[in-house]
Amino acid sequence: MAKADLVGGTLWEHYSTKVNDRMLNPRHMGEITEAEAAARGGKLVTADWGAEVCGDAIRAFWAVDPRTDTILDARFKTFGCGTAIASSDMMCELCIGKTVDEALRITNLDVERALRDNADTASIPPQKMHCSVMAYDVIRKAASQYKGVAMDSLEDEEIVCPCARVSLRTVKDVIRINDLKTVEEITRYTKAGAFCKSCVRPGGHEARKHYLVDILKEVREEMERDRSKAQAPVKGFSAMNLIQRHRAVEKVIEEKLRPMLAHDGGDLEVADMKETDGVTEVYVSYMGACRGCPSAATGTLNVIEETLQKELDGRIRVLPA
């Protein structure tokens, strides 16, 4: 939260002058007919994207010169909010004069930037970035139709957050490299999830293939597995001599058990260690609050044994000294 959030109802105050202008007077609104395209020596491409039931639908028209692949003219019809109309209009403007391959490099971020009044101020409020994504998608749709290829083949990366155009690879990398633990941190690093928030978790405005909460969980689990692989289980416990085994046991007690016991005001120490029939017997004596605690001889002992077995070797027994 910030002071600005306490006012509310500021949606339209964040529209740039250019956005307002294009909502009211779109320059490229309309259709291109087959005859019009032919008269300019071009081939007509018509592409539909979105659906009215989803709240956004666009039909883009391109007249493309088949010899040079240059987009001679571009027009649109849009069902959608003001941002969708302004983005559609700017999308057409950015396409005109470019080749189809060049147009494919235009993203919703370029459309948003082109609508800014000055370089440092976004032209639309964050949640409205979503409405500009349609302008990017319809370019791919039109290009795929012109080229006669599948639309998916024109996207080389798997995109998690279409608003900010952040790929799955990028999200995974920032989590790993920066040891991120929350979705808020991912958003701070990448801007993924900062706009319409659909990609944060299921149940948002739009269903997504990937959600940041799931990616975070998955990568954290992978990282945890890698870490435990690097540390434990300690290989060759049974091959160690008793001194080495004692050191390994002390290490586990120090890292895993002592903090837990200290929480309740207790402590323990290893009084003795022996090996009997291949089983390592660890004799412990309690200190502090653990001494005389009724569960010290039962529950706590079990926890200590299980922890040592998991971390070191299954053939460890823990006994009271």
């Binding site: 509310g8 949606l11 339209w12 002058t17 307002n20 202008d21 909502m23 009211l24 779109p26 609104m29 539909d48 009215e52 039931v53 989803c54 709240g55 956004d56 639908a57 666009i58 039909r59 019809k77 849009t78 069902f79 959608g80 909010c81 003001g82 941002t83 969708a84 109309i85 949640q127 409205k128 979503h130 409405c131 319409c196 928030k197 659909s198 948002g204 405005h205």
Partner: protein, 418 residues
């Protein structure tokens, strides 16, 4: 006489730098048209005047024993008389003064949660899918505390009827039923007398959020057996920041705001005397204007509704006989709601939309979702709501602006009108 006569003309604040010269010329001649009266209303000039002495002259704390405190008491008594009379409350019932209807709703729902649900006497709260967030989100909060909440759907007419309610209540389980008197988006009036009576027969407490009913339709707590009823001054030409909560004598009650002895210990916090006085007069004026609402406001609403319905691809939600006399919820095929009200705003007409694209969270209004068979309403619904201050000339200007917006945006849309 139009009870709204005499309201002040205000200058336009539309950013004029963006407008073409022709539009600019018209704008200077034309006042803004306010058709968002279900969101809030203009303060009646008489109400504003009645509140004036309580800022700098009679500013005493009514709980003080000295003259500064006691001199405001007659004005407070008059205000309470007007509020009690406005909803026909009996002297032995309470009409508590709160900060808003949201507080009133929270007070009832949280009180029932503490007294009946948390204590294990009963388990369920029943409400509807079309409540205002002041009830809907409070119920969601109670769910997070462990309450079971049932959200009733609306029927094909957009109404919660007694048959739907009967299926979902049980004398042993249901602690409270909370159903709005009239819906804020559609204006549809719910059969509140029947619903409340059904709960009374089954020994179940009944609360109604009457925010959209007071001042638009008669509200009589003696004819309708509600236990609790919420209202808000700014919806009937009173000030913002003050509301009321009717609590029938004997209905279980725990305060939401603990504190001083105000409201007999049922709602702590120094009473804003100016607001109470304003709300009292606003209530009296609103009740006095009810026949005017039912005739003149209805006539203007119908005039506007007929005009918008004459446009191709425009529909209006709900039978007009079943609606509050001031409300139109329209849907324009192929035209998204936010773009539509943006266009109307450019042409000096204020309306509202529950479209997903117009909210911070991109979530459509819950009423739109509950009423929307094909999800279309969730993107196209636009509400026009009048008041007793709306004039025929304003309605005609709004009709022209609606026609202009429909034609312009339909021209941009790939969808056909029919």
């Amino acid at each position: 006489m139009n009870p709204g006569a005499g309201h002040e003309k205000r200058p336009s604040t539309i950013p004029i730098g963006l407008l073409p010269q022709a539009v600019l010329a018209i704008l200077f001649l034309m006042d803004r048209v306010y058709l968002d009266n279900n969101a809030t209303t203009i303060v009646d000039p008489r109400v504003k005047e009645a509140m004036e002495p309580f800022w700098s002259q009679m500013y005493g704390n009514p709980n003080s024993l000295h003259e500064f405190g006691t001199e405001v008491h007659p004005y407070m008594r008059l205000a309470f008389d007007r509020l009690y009379a406005g909803i026909r409350a009996r002297d032995r019932d309470d009409v508590l003064i709160t900060s808003c209807a949201t507080e009133s709703n929270n007070t009832v729902l949280q009180s029932v949660w503490y007294d009946l649900v948390r204590s294990g006497k009963k388990t369920e709260i029943v409400t509807t899918q079309v409540e205002h967030p002041a009830v809907g989100n409070t119920c969601r909060y109670l769910e997070s505390l462990g309450a079971k909440v049932i959200y009733l759907p609306v029927n094909a007419e957009g109404i919660v009827d007694a048959d739907i309610l009967r299926e979902h209540i049980h004398p042993d389980r249901t602690a409270l039923v909370s159903i709005m008197w009239a819906n804020n988006e559609t204006g549809l009036i719910f059969p509140i007398r029947e619903l409340a009576a059904l709960c009374r027969e089954n020994g179940i407490l009944f609360h109604t959020d009457a925010v959209q009913a007071v001042g638009k339709v008669p509200v009589d707590v003696q004819a309708v057996p509600v236990d609790y009823l919420s209202f808000s001054a700014h919806k009937f030409h009173g000030p913002k920041g003050v509301g009321g909560l009717f609590v029938r004598e004997g209905a279980p009650f725990s305060p939401l705001l603990h504190g001083g002895e105000q409201m007999g210990g049922r709602r702590g916090g120094t009473v804003n005397v100016a607001f109470l006085v304003g709300m009292g007069l606003a209530m009296e004026l609103a009740v006095r204007a009810l026949p005017f609402e039912q005739t003149e406001v209805r006539r203007l609403r119908d005039r506007l509704e007929d005009a918008v319905l004459s446009l191709p691809g425009v529909s209006v939600i709900g039978d007009r006989e079943l609606r509050t006399p001031n409300t139109i919820l329209m849907s324009v095929k192929g035209v998204e709601g936010e773009a539509f009200i943006w266009d109307l705003n450019r042409n000096a007409v204020a309306a509202s939309t529950g479209s997903a694209c117009a909210s911070e969270s991109l979530e459509p209004n819950p009423t739109f979702v509950a009423m929307s068979l094909n999800n279309e309403l969730a993107h196209t619904g636009v509400r026009l709501s009048l008041s007793r201050f709306t004039t025929e000339a304003e309605v005609d200007r709004a009709a022209a602006a609606v026609r202009g917006a429909v034609e312009r945006l339909r021209g941009i849309s790939p969808a056909r009108a029919v």
